[in-house]
């Protein structure tokens, strides 16, 4: 019995799914999401705000990706490795006890988990790392750099670099190296160099800046495996497309499991890669609600949070125009979250766009709510989710009472929580 989580005793009657959307997006708006403009614009978001030195490399990458997707040799190899090396397809798992936990006298939503935590290396991140490593091989680049926050993208990148014999340098904030010591060791075991970044807040934002500076310096020999749907065009589209396998599988699995589309998709959002991967194949299906959950840290009202869409203003960071946590002078602010993977003051431009056109909804939960959800899911389902993923689960507390009986909810269970055990133990040590 989880006493720390208040049970909801009252509930709102079920409401028609579409009435909760802030507005009705137009067909043309939805089409932009499928394919941004030539400069990588999703509406006003996206673009390429980078030093000139990188512009030819971005053009080369966009061209290489476009050619690769048309080349059966590439798609066959990617598909083969996703199955045999990553372990796809990941199951769509019916979380019966979690469903029962949120069941009311009149019934309640049914909760399904898309088990990305079962992928090799323990999170969705390897979908993109694998795809980009194959692209790097096609472009003849033998040196790989990456940034990492929680270390999951760093581990995934170090893993595929080991697999293909590529040199790998991972930039990681010194503060994150402390929080995620296990992943630092894993990356080193895989033969990668982990480069500590002490500038700024020593977290993901600064690691990303340093990775971009490395790329500016070594662009002719190096491919940058950016780990989220952020950064300059074509990265938001490229990373999304490699993760879209999550939503494509889920779509088919929903049809097999309950014979129709899901009603609600739920995913955590830092930069937003796992959410975009799940959402993308459903963007045109208006009946499917898409909800991204951000990190509210100590609470959005405290100013110590990472809830970019909830609280940010339009700005430019790491090569893209998107919503951004910034002060009155346009200086980028520190983000705060218990989860290193969500501790980022920016967000992928397509999320800002989906929010603006009213196609996706965004919410935020605090560190404490995420911790409570992590315990709940661990105890009810025997699955310890990553702290990042726990943010998506935490929103069930607010969401479920508003959903009609029989609503089919798919949560992207984006990563497993082994890496977070030290952090969770520090916070919950006395309670367990």
């Amino acid at each position: 019995m989880i006493l720390s989580i208040p049970r909801v005793v009252s509930f709102l009657p079920g409401v028609p799914v579409t009435s909760t959307l802030p507005s009705q997006p137009k067909d043309a708006d939805l089409a932009v999401s499928a394919r941004p403009s030539a400069q990588g614009r999703f509406g006003r978001y996206g673009g390429q705000y980078v030093p000139e030195t990188l512009m030819p490399a971005l053009a080369e990458l966009e061209q290489a990706a476009a050619q690769a997707w048309k080349d059966p040799a590439f798609t066959t190899e990617l598909d083969r490795l996703l199955r045999s090396y990553v372990g796809r397809a990941t199951p769509l798992y019916e979380a019966e006890r979690l469903t029962a936990h949120y069941c009311r006298p009149d019934g309640g939503p049914r909760i399904w988990l898309k088990r990305e935590d079962l992928n090799h290396t323990g999170a969705h991140k390897i979908n993109n790392a694998l795809g980009q490593a194959l692209l790097a091989l096609r472009m003849g680049k033998k040196r790989i750099i990456a940034e990492t926050g929680a270390g999951q993208h760093g581990v995934a990148t170090a893993t595929v670099c080991a697999r293909f014999g590529l040199e790998c340098v991972v930039y990681m904030g010194a503060e994150d190296m402390r929080r995620q010591a296990l992943n630092v060791f894993r990356m080193r075991l895989l033969g990668a160099t982990v480069q500590p970044v002490t500038a700024g807040t020593a977290t993901l934002k600064d690691a990303t800046s340093e990775a971009i500076r490395d790329w500016v310096t070594n662009v002719e020999s190096t491919h940058y495996i950016l780990g989220s749907v952020a950064g300059p065009h074509p990265y938001p589209m490229l990373v999304r497309d490699f993760h879209a396998v999550i939503g494509q599988e889920a779509r088919q699995q929903c049809a097999e499991a309950f014979g129709r589309l899901p009603d609600v998709l739920l995913a955590c959002v830092g930069g937003g890669s796992n959410a975009m991967g799940l959402f993308h194949p459903f963007v045109q299906d208006r009946s499917v609600r898409m909800i991204g959950v951000e990190a509210a840290g100590d609470g959005v009202e405290t100013g110590r949070h990472a809830a970019t869409i909830t609280e940010g203003r339009v700005g430019v960071l790491h090569g893209a125009m998107s919503l951004l946590l910034q002060d009155d002078e346009g200086q980028v602010q520190e983000a705060h979250s218990i989860s290193a993977g969500l501790d980022y003051p920016g967000v992928g431009p397509e999320h800002s766009y989906l929010c603006e056109i009213g196609r996706a909804e965004y919410a935020a939960v605090t560190d404490q709510q995420a911790l409570d959800a992590l315990r709940l899911v661990s105890e009810l389902e025997g699955i310890i989710p990553a702290l990042e993923t726990a943010h998506a689960f935490a929103w069930l507390e607010t969401l479920c009472p508003t959903l009609a009986a029989g609503t089919e909810v798919v949560i992207n269970c984006s990563g497993r929580g082994d890496k977070d055990v030290n952090t969770v133990a520090e916070k919950l040590g006395n309670q367990l």
């Binding site: 512009m55 800046s209 500016v216 310096t217 700005g315 960071l317 346009g330």
Partner: protein, 278 residues
Amino acid sequence: MIAMADSLAPKSNTQATISSRFQRVQAEGRLALMPFLMAGDPDLATTAEVLLSLEQSGADMVELGIPYSDPLADGPVIQAAASRALASGTTPARVLQMLIDLRGKLSIPVILFTYTNPLFNRGMERFCDEAAEAGVAGLVVPDLPLEEAERLSPLASARGLDLVLLVAPTTPAERMARIAESSRGFTYLVSVTGVTGERSVMEERVESLVQQLKLSCSNPVAVGFGISGPQQVRQVRNWGADGAIVGSALVKRMAAAAPGFVAQEAGLFCKELRNAAG
């Protein structure tokens, strides 16, 4: 004194435009010397003193950084300068006020160097209005490549501000010609594949890049990123460039100066560079 009020200046204040200054420098057979410093490092009062000292020590123009929290194109020296400047409370508005206060005292063109977000946050049009009002001659925005500069360039030009675009060693020839064509005031040739910071040797390919740019467009060409001292200024001059931008080396020298001697130290370094630049 080498620099004096520019009689060619078409503006109401006493400051010259970038073009008129290049014309004069070229007519005199010299290389335009363009030191960079970060506004507000360590404070704006010092910056004002340094600007005057640089003019007196032979700078033809000055590139003035407005600090930003995430300077992607900058190496450790300028990053640290930006952090110090932000810590001293430097904002775009305060930098422009300092320039207004220097009216009538500073006659060389001032080119602001900053990133997209502080400009976007202020509003591109509003910022250009305010910069023009403060007598600024031009803007360099290193994370605003050709495609993204299309909106800002006409806004700036309409207010008499030159938006200077950058070309890099990785830029293909055809693109280089398009950038040079769109750049105003001069074309900024980034001399290294990398971020700002001193380099012990200049890459040989810079010479052919300078030649290529001179052939493709009538704009003056100034070389920046990685120029550490008089020897490299001389080299850039011999390669046929019209200007040399010296940043990290000056910023480092200023940071090492004893309190109260920052402007003097900057002036001394500038004179060394001036001798090399002719």
